[in-house]
């Protein structure tokens, strides 16, 4: 839209300038006459009010300003705008990428911590289990050993008992023999049967 309005405006501008030229001409004329009246030097007047230069200035202004407008609007500004846009996009995409990376890092850290906690839990469980297993096995083994030992003790006791009984049984016989021998030495021969009955009598008496 601005591009359409532009040439129109420049044409209008020219027309307006033509109008204003007439007024400025009059100003310059009066100025020039006062200058001339005041002193003898050149009646150049004040250059910015010299209307004879207005046409050239306006023409060249229109040409150079118009050309600058076209160059700016068509080449320079779109290019700078594009540069800025590309940079903006790049910065935004980089930031998004960084954010994505950060999220991934966070996720990884979270997963790691979860796994660590799990592993710790598991290790704890295993230790607990092992300890329980070990103590159960030890208990069983101890019970077994104790049972074995008590059996052995019982056997041993039984054997002792048997030996003792046997020994006691033998003691009677030995005592009878000994008594018979003693009596034989002291009072003459005594039959084994007499000795045995005497011992028996003593033991019972």
């Amino acid at each position: 839209m601005a591009g359409e309005a532009q040439p129109q405006v420049v044409v209008e501008n020219g027309a307006v300038a033509q109008d204003s030229t007439a007024g400025a001409q009059a100003v310059t004329d009066t100025h020039a006459t006062t200058e001339a009246a005041a002193g003898g030097h050149e009646a150049v007047g004040f250059p910015p009010f010299d209307a004879s230069t207005f046409g050239s200035q306006l023409l060249w202004l229109a040409i150079t300003f118009g050309a600058l407008y076209v160059i700016m609007a068509r080449v320079a500004l779109p290019r700078i705008g594009e540069i800025l846009e590309v940079r903006q996009d790049r910065i935004e995409s980089d930031l998004a990428e960084a954010d994505r990376m950060r999220q991934r890092t966070d996720q990884a850290v979270e997963a790691y911590e979860k796994e660590l906690a799990e592993a710790r839990q598991k290790a704890h469980g295993i230790a607990e289990q092992t300890r329980a297993d070990n103590s159960a096995a030890a208990d069983a083994r101890r019970a077994e050993v104790e049972a074995e030992l008590s059996k052995q003790v019982a056997t041993a006791e039984a054997r002792i008992q048997a030996t003792k009984t046997e020994a006691l049984k033998n003691v009677d016989a030995i005592a009878a023999d000994t008594a018979a021998a003693l009596v034989g030495q002291i009072a003459g021969k005594v039959s084994a049967a007499e000795a045995a009955s005497a011992v028996k009598k003593v033991l019972e008496g």
Binding site: V9, T21, Q57, M72
Partner: protein, 259 residues
């Protein structure tokens, strides 16, 4: 000796390099319009070339990471773009190339004027008036094209009692019509006055140096000339900015009349 005295107006003289001819008029002496290639035209062409070369060559690389020149071009672009957007709204961005061209043309022309012996294009009222009238016509034509008769609401501020309206509307119309005048005179006056003052102080330095023992005093106007040169650079940029901002404000009226 006095004939060679520095004349502060001399720098504004239009010098014809060659003439194309006389157009219009009735053939008598002084009538019609002489079209010539002048020093003014030369510096308009230089302005065109410098501004175009700066913006096109600096962005030639289309660097993702800008170099110095490209950064400057981008800064000017964004500066003007922000100015248009903040003053005339997003819809005003269709006039961005126009405002940008105005800004660049005036800025470069003003800066060229700061180089000694260079001609200042914007020190001629006809140039600034043409630019101001161009802006005025764009505002009026676009205002009516876009809003039709509603564009006239521009002259009727809302919320004014009926008995004051008859006072306010003529004032609004006069202020609207005087815009191209103030718009053009501001730029022209600043450039003209600045250059005259610089020339006057420069002339004082030369005159004092030529006056024997009084030459010692020349340090004073010399210091003034140095300080004023700095000020004039500021004014050169500032006036280009002011011209562009006012253009944006006027365009805003064309886009959003009646508020």
């Amino acid at each position: 000796m006095s004939e060679k005295a520095i004349e502060p107006i001399h720098q504004f003289n239009i010098v014809k390099y060659f003439t194309f001819g006389n157009f219009g008029g009735n053939g008598s002496e002084g009538s019609g319009m002489e079209i010539a290639f002048t020093n003014s035209a030369l510096f308009m062409l230089l302005t065109l070339l410098a501004a175009s070369a700066f913006l096109i060559l600096s962005t030639r690389g289309r660097g993702l990471v800008p170099g110095r020149m490209q950064l400057m071009a981008e800064m000017v672009y964004e500066f003007v773009a922000n100015m248009v957007r903040s003053s005339a709204g997003t819809e005003g961005m269709r006039f961005f190339p126009f405002v940008f061209t105005l800004f660049m043309f005036i800025l470069v022309a003003n800066f060229f004027g700061m180089v000694p012996y260079f001609f200042t294009v914007t020190s001629h009222i006809i140039v600034t008036a043409a630019l101001a009238v161009l802006v005025f016509l764009v505002v009026v034509i676009y205002g009516f094209m876009r809003n039709g008769a509603k564009f006239l609401k521009l002259f009727v501020p809302p919320g004014i009692p009926w008995f004051i309206i008859w006072l306010v509307v003529p004032i609004e119309i006069i202020s609207f019509l005087s815009r191209p005048l103030s718009h053009s005179l501001r730029l022209w006056g600043n450039m003209l006055a600045g250059h005259i003052v610089l020339k006057v102080f420069g002339g004082m330095v030369v005159a004092l140096l030529g006056a024997g023992a009084w030459g010692v005093v020349a340090i004073l106007p010399f210091g003034m000339a140095v300080a004023l040169t700095g000020l004039e650079f500021l004014v050169a940029a500032l006036q280009a900015f002011v011209f562009a901002v006012l253009t944006c404000v006027y365009l805003n009226d064309a886009i959003h009349p009646g508020h």
